[in-house]
Symmetry: C2
Subunit: 363 residues, 2 copies
């Protein structure tokens, strides 16, 4: 039994070893096309985040549908995609420290259009000291428009950093970026509009204003100042995206297949999918994934290799030991990061198995 298993195209997914995540090709492709069509309709450039699939083959489908480039979070992820020939990569991260800056410089030599973000003078100083006017690096200013993670706190601060980038010989000002809270379009638009107005007033061109996130993706047009949107989760979708109103169960391309290994009581079933298969990401849910075929059942507990299911009021003999269950994960992106390979299928027949090359890339 190897890490990369003996799974072949043509095999039915019911015969796969469990636990295992599988992706429905048709659902994934429809997700790609639906989102791209929305972006096209509204004239918004679309840049998918690779965190959800971590696969060059899926990113290529996203580009074929019309995406302008890809979004990575770490240099090591971008390196995987650069080596696969991707030419336009935005790393939405503050690259800090000598080793990372060296790696970024090497990456910049290999990627025709590479850009990063920064939200502090310290980050910009490190970048400015690394790159030169011969081949400047494009840097966008990250803005906190309500997400409460990274980002400058005001349009004024954004403009100040933009000026610093604009004046640095080794850097090119690439624009503004946010990872917003869901349903904060009004606040994000106000922030961007104010910053864009001040940049215009200062004579600083602002080529890209990039907004992000899947949960309220179909409200991206409510941020008209933005020129671009980034999203990852939409490609597979998950239970959290269903709750957010972004998609329905039918739009969820990923299932985790698991086997019942124990039925200690009439109410309790234990499956072979634990936190090593589903992750412990709750994202506000109280249980660990959706069981579409067992609507009364809830995955109430996870340890690394066990999932404990409370079968609820209709508990009985089923599912029995050896029966299979199918789970829609709370959060699809983190599941991808747990497995060394991904199985794709069409109508339950395996189409391909791919090593997840950008899995576990934390740097």
């Amino acid at each position: 039994m190897t890490r990369f298993p003996d799974i072949a195209p043509g095999q039915r997914i019911e015969t796969l070893p469990t636990p295992i995540p599988v992706i429905d090709e048709a659902v994934m492709q429809a997700n790609i096309e639906r989102v791209q069509a929305y972006m096209r309709q509204h004239g918004i450039a679309f840049r998918p985040h690779i965190k959800t699939h971590k696969l060059a083959s899926v990113a290529r489908r996203q580009l074929e549908a019309g995406a302008v480039g890809i979004n990575c979070q770490k240099i090591s992820e971008a390196r995987v995609f650069a080596d696969a020939g991707f030419a336009d990569i935005l790393i939405t991260y503050n690259i800090v420290g000598e080793g990372k800056l060296d790696a970024l410089k090497a990456l910049h030599a290999d990627v025709p259009r590479l850009s990063v973000t920064a939200d502090s003078a310290a980050t910009i100083e490190g970048l400015a000291n690394t790159f030169s006017a011969e081949r400047p690096l494009t840097v966008l200013v990250e803005c906190d428009t309500g997400g409460g993670r990274c980002g400058v706190q005001s349009p004024e601060d954004a403009v100040a950093l933009a000026k610093t980038i604009f004046q640095a010989p080794g850097l090119a000002f690439g624009g503004l970026m946010t990872y917003p809270a869901p349903r904060s379009e009004e606040r994000t638009e106000a922030f961007f509009a104010a910053a864009k107005g001040a940049l215009d007033g200062a004579g600083i061109p602002c080529p890209v204003i990039t907004n992000g996130g899947t949960p309220s993706l179909f409200s991206a047009h409510l941020v008209p100042t933005a020129t671009e949107h980034r999203a990852g989760t939409y490609v597979y979708n998950d239970r959290a995206m269903m709750r957010a109103g972004h998609c329905t169960l039918e739009d969820c391309a990923m299932r985790i297949l698991a086997t019942v290994v124990s039925r200690p009581t009439p109410e309790r079933a234990v499956i072979d999918a634990g936190s090593k298969a589903l992750t412990s990401d709750l994202l506000g849910f109280e249980d660990h994934g959706l069981l579409p075929d067992l609507p009364e059942a809830r995955i109430t507990g996870l340890s690394e290799e066990h999932g404990v299911i409370d079968l609820g009021p209709h508990a009985g003999d089923r599912p029995a030991v050896g029966d299979r269950v199918s789970i829609v994960p709370n959060h699809t992106c983190v599941v991808t990061n747990l497995f060394d390979f991904m199985v794709f299928h069409r109508d339950g027949v395996v189409t391909r198995v791919e090593p997840i090359l950008a899995r576990g890339q934390v740097w």
Copy 2:
């Protein structure tokens, strides 16, 4: 930047790329010896669970200290250790389904002393149909002594399954096993004593009675009917084990090193360790790990590549962008599963970097 990084013995851990987990060799060795000394003192055989380290080198140190064998949770993990020459492996799992049974049979051919657990007639039937009297497989009955996961619910049910195993030509009854709730020694002892008494009365030899868990490990002697104890987390320890009273901060061998990449506000710092480095395992905590050097600060939020720190009442300029922080994880075992390699050090100087061969083994 590759998955297996250019890190060399002699390097100071302060110069490592972040995020990265590091293990203090001396603390780990002391943990191994302290627990083994306790088990020796009480005449309890000790079988470490490899889930925490997933490394043959660490398991060898555990055996050198006096452990009787190792405990794995999946066939694929046991395969890694079998290939590394380990001769006594207990898989505490219901092995279910044709593919898994085939893999178990192949493993059994390669491991001198292999045993598994079962908690149902269905699991035992599958095992009995796979193995033969020429080379029987040893099977222990898993008992639910309060843990609420797998396991038969009563001593009577344990004895009934023991009889089934005892009578199956291809199986050998190996004894009883539990993964108990912490601090349930009284209940576990009562369960085991009743089952053992009934087995004695039925003339069924019960070679091993194996208890488990790190949280109340040092109360293992309060289950005198047990002959063996299994534990994993004790080798590295973590914040949850500190809370359980098993260890102190000084006994925690694992730290996750991270770098501050953003200081959006005086109260907020953002580090480059998110759920891909720390996991989202809360284990009852409200925050995502302990910051020993920043006692007022709390990691309040994680996304995949970002950790958001609330610096608390003493917020100010420090830590600044580029500063490093050191984190004791809530749950050490799950961190190991996220990284392709582990860095060991002594007094802050790297001693070795090892690929985590049994990482991501879910089958």
